[in-house]
Amino acid sequence: MKVHEYQAKQIFEKAGIPVPPGNIATTPTEAFEIAEKLNKPVMIKAQVHVGGRGKAGGVKYAENAEAAKVLAQKILGMDIKGLTVKKVLVTEAVEIISEAYIGIILDRTTQKPVIMVSSAGGVDIEEVAAKTPEKIHKLYVDPVVGLREYQARNLAYKLFRETSQVRKTSDIIMKLYDIFWQVDASLVEINPLISTPGGEVLAIDDKLNVDDNGLFRHKNIAAMRDLDAEDQAEIKAREADLSYVKLEGNIGCIVNGAGLAMTTMDLVKHYGGEPANFLDIGGSSNPQKVQTAMQIILADPNVRAILINIFGGITRCDDVANGIVAAFKESKPTVPVVVRLTGTNESEAQRILSAYRLPTADTLDAAVKKAISLAGIE
C-alpha cells in the first residue's frame, strides 16, 4: 500500500528525520493560513499517487501567503494522469545547494534489504540509474545483524564530505532503516535529500510503501489508504476479500488462485480473445464471494462472456456453484457464462448447476475457447 507524501513525512518526522516545516491543505484558504504562519516562501505540492507530478504542474513555488492561495486554487482539483488533486502539502521552500537520493527496498534476489544512495538525487534519479549506474551505491544489509553505524557512515560519505553533514546523513540513514522495519515497509525513500547554504540536511520528498501483509499490525497506516485514488470496483473487490484488476478486454474471468487466474487470462489471449479482468477469489471461498465477483464483472459494460475457472483444493466446487446460483437468482446475466469446475466436490457442484444448463468444458483450454466463441468475437 502506498501512502501520500504528507503521511510519509509525518512518519519520518516522528522518527527524528529533519524535514521542512509545513502542513496539509484541502482548500486555498487553508494553504494561505499555513503559508502565513510559516511567514516564508513555500512550496505547494499536489498529493496524488503518481510520479512526475512536478512536470505535470502539480508542484509550485509561492513567494508569500497570497501567492500560495492563488496557486493552491489552481492545483486543487487539477487532474494529474487521471487522478484529481484533493490535497496539497504546503511546506517552507528552502534554498538548495545539493540534491541526494536515499532509498531502502526489499531485494527478493538476495532476500535482504538493500540501501541505495546517490549524490545525483532529484527528479532524474531513474535516468541516473539507467545511464550511470556507477553513481548509485548499494549496500545489502544482513537482516539478522541489522545496519551498523559504520555502514551508514560509509554510505553518508558517498553523499557528503563535510563532517557535520556526514554525521547528520548517517543518522538519517539509520533512522530510515529503523522505519523500514517498524512499519513493515517494502520501500522507504527520500528524494531529494538536500543540503542548505547553512549546512543543514533535510528530507524534501518522502515516499513510503507498506507491505499489505503487514498492515494488520499497523492500523494507523492502514487507515491512511486513499480510496479516491482507487478504482471503485477494485475497492468493492478488496472489501469482499477478492483480488481484482480491471483490464480492457471483453472476457470476464473468475478464478481461484493468482497463478491460475493469470494463466486463464493468458489462454484467453492465446486463443484470440481479450481478458476483461484479473480476478482471484482466493482460497477457502464462500458462495458470497463468488456472488460479489459476478456482480463486479457484470457491472463492466465491456464484458461479452464470463469464464469461471475453479480448480478445487481448499476451495470447494459446491461453494462456488452455490455462489453462481445466488448470482443468477439476483440478476440473470445477459452474457453467456462458461463454467469449468474441477476438483474438490466437483460432482456435487454439477448437480447444483444442472438446472441452469450452463455451457461447460473439461479442460481449461476448451473452456477458454468456448467462452471466446460464445462471446461472438471473431
Binding site: 537520493y101 532509498g103 531502502i104 527496498i105 526489499l106 527478493r108 534476489t109 532476500q111 534489504p113 541505495m116 534519479i125 531513474e126 540509474a129 548509485i136 537482516p143 539478522v144 517494502s186 520501500l187 525513500e189 528524494n191 515516499k207 507491505d211 499489505d212 501483509n213 503487514g214 494488520f216 499490525r217 477478492l242 483480488s243 484488476v245 483490464l247 478464478v255 488462485g257 493468482a258 497463478g259 491460475l260 487466474a261 493469470m262 494463466t263 487470462m265 493468458d266 489462454l267 484467453v268 489471449k269 492465446h270 481478458p275 484479473f278 482471484d280 482466493g282 482460497g283 477457502s284 480448480f311 483444493g313 481448499i314 474441477t342 476438483g343 474438490t344 479442460t363 481449461l364 483450454d365
Partner: protein, 335 residues
C-alpha cells in the same frame, strides 16, 4: 525415492485445532501421511481426528519424534510458529499460511537455515510424494506415482499442471509448491538440485510466474547443473503493466520481471516453455524420449513455442515493461 518427504516423514500439525488445520490434518492422515501430533497452545491433552494435541512444539517433538511440521496458523502467528518449529529441532517446516509479512521472513529464513532446517513457503500448498506422504493442502486425487518432479511458485496452477501430467499418464515423484511470496525458504534452485540428485526423478516440470528473477536464475542453474529433461510454464504473459515501486523499484529490479523475459531466458538454455499447462506433458514426452535436457529438434520446438506464446503479446508487454504488477501476484489473505 522422492525429495524432502517420504515414508519416514513424521508430521506435526501446527494450528491443528483451527478450521484449515483440522481439515487438512485429517486429509493428510487419510492419504497415509504419518501425522503423529498437533500443536495448539492451550489445547494440550486433547485429540483431533485421533491425533494427540500438545501445547508446545518442544513437547510434541520430544514425545513423538516428529521431524516435519506443517503450519496452518493465522498470519499474525505464523512467523512465531516457524521459529518455534526450528527451535524444537524440526528438519522440514512447511508454512501453508498466506499473508505473512515479507520483512518477518527476511529474518526467519536465515534463522531456520542456521538451525540446519529447511523452510518451504510461506504461502504455499506444500508437498506430495505420491503413495508416500503428503504435507500441506495439495489435493491427493490428482496425483499419480511416477518419475516427474514438479516445482511451482503457484497453488491452483500447480494442481492444473499436475492434473495435465496425470491425465497424460505421466506420474510424479514429488510435487512441491514453493510459494508465491517475495521471501521464501526454499527456491527453485534448492528443488532443482534435489530433483537432479533424486534417482526416482527422471524429468522436471518448473512452473513460474511474473515478478522477480528466480526463473532467470534457475535457467542458468539448469544450464550448468541439471542433466535431466526440464520443461516449463510461465504465468502472467497478459498481466497488466506494473505500477512501479517508486524509484527504488525501477533501480533494483534490473530484469523486468515480465513473463516474456523469463520465457526468453528459459528457451535460450533449451528449456521448452508450454503455451498452456495442457501442453506440458506433450513437450515432456518429446524430451523424455531423447533422454536429454536439450530438445532433439530444438529449432522446431522453439519456433512453434515462440509463435504460439509470445508472438501476439510481446510488443505490448515490452513497451510497457516495468516491475511486475504486485496486485496480480499477491494472493488474497484468508480470513
Amino acid at each position: 525415492m522422492s525429495i524432502f518427504i517420504n515414508k519416514k516423514t513424521k508430521v506435526v500439525v501446527q494450528g491443528i485445532t483451527g478450521r484449515d488445520g483440522s481439515f487438512h490434518a485429517e486429509q493428510m492422515k487419510k492419504y497415509g501421511t504419518d501425522v503423529v501430533a498437533g500443536v495448539t497452545p492451550g489445547k494440550g491433552n486433547t485429540q483431533v481426528a485421533g491425533i494427540p494435541v500438545f501445547n508446545t512444539m518442544e513437547e510434541a517433538v520430544a514425545k513423538t519424534k516428529a521431524n516435519t511440521s506443517v503450519i496452518y496458523v493465522p498470519p499474525a502467528f505464523a512467523t512465531d510458529a516457524i521459529y518455534e518449529a526450528a527451535d524444537a529441532g524440526i528438519e522440514l517446516i512447511v508454512c501453508v499460511t498466506e499473508g505473512v509479512p515479507a520483512n518477518d521472513m527476511l529474518k526467519a529464513v536465515p534463522y531456520v537455515k542456521s538451525r540446519g532446517a529447511r523452510l518451504v513457503g510461506p504461502n504455499c500448498p506444500g508437498l506430495i510424494s505420491p503413495e508416500q506422504s503428503k504435507v500441506g493442502i495439495l489435493p491427493s486425487t490428482i496425483v499419480k506415482k511416477g518419475n516427474v518432479g514438479v516445482i511451482s511458485r503457484s497453488g491452483t496452477l500447480t494442481y492444473e499442471a499436475i492434473w495435465a501430467l496425470t491425465l497424460a499418464g505421466l506420474g510424479q515423484s514429488t510435487c512441491i509448491g514453493i510459494g508465491g511470496d517475495q521471501v521464501i525458504g526454499t527456491n527453485f534452485i534448492d528443488c532443482l538440485k534435489a530433483f537432479q540428485e533424486d534417482p526416482a526423478t527422471r524429468a522436471i516440470v518448473m512452473i513460474g510466474e511474473i515478478g522477480g528473477s528466480d526463473e532467470e536464475i534457475a535457467a542458468e542453474f539448469i544450464r550448468k547443473h541439471v542433466t535431466k529433461p526440464v520443461v516449463s510454464f510461465i504465468a502472467g504473459r497478459t498481466a497488466p503493466p506494473g505500477k512501479r515501486m517508486g524509484h527504488a523499484g525501477a533501480i533494483i529490479s534490473g530484469g523486468s520481471g515480465t513473463a516474456e523475459d523469463k520465457i526468453k531466458a528459459l528457451e535460450k538454455v533449451g528449456i521448452p516453455v508450454a503455451a498452456s499447462p495442457l501442453e506440458l506433458p506433450v513437450l515432456l514426452k518429446k524430451l523424455m524420449k531423447t533422454g536429454k535436457k536439450k530438445p532433439a529438434v530444438k529449432k522446431e520446438v522453439k519456433k512453434s513455442t515462440v509463435k504460439k506464446t509470445t508472438g501476439k503479446t510481446s510488443k505490448k508487454v515490452s513497451s510497457r515493461a516495468r516491475a511486475p504488477q504486485k496486485k496480480t501476484v499477491t494472493v488474497r489473505k484468508k480470513k
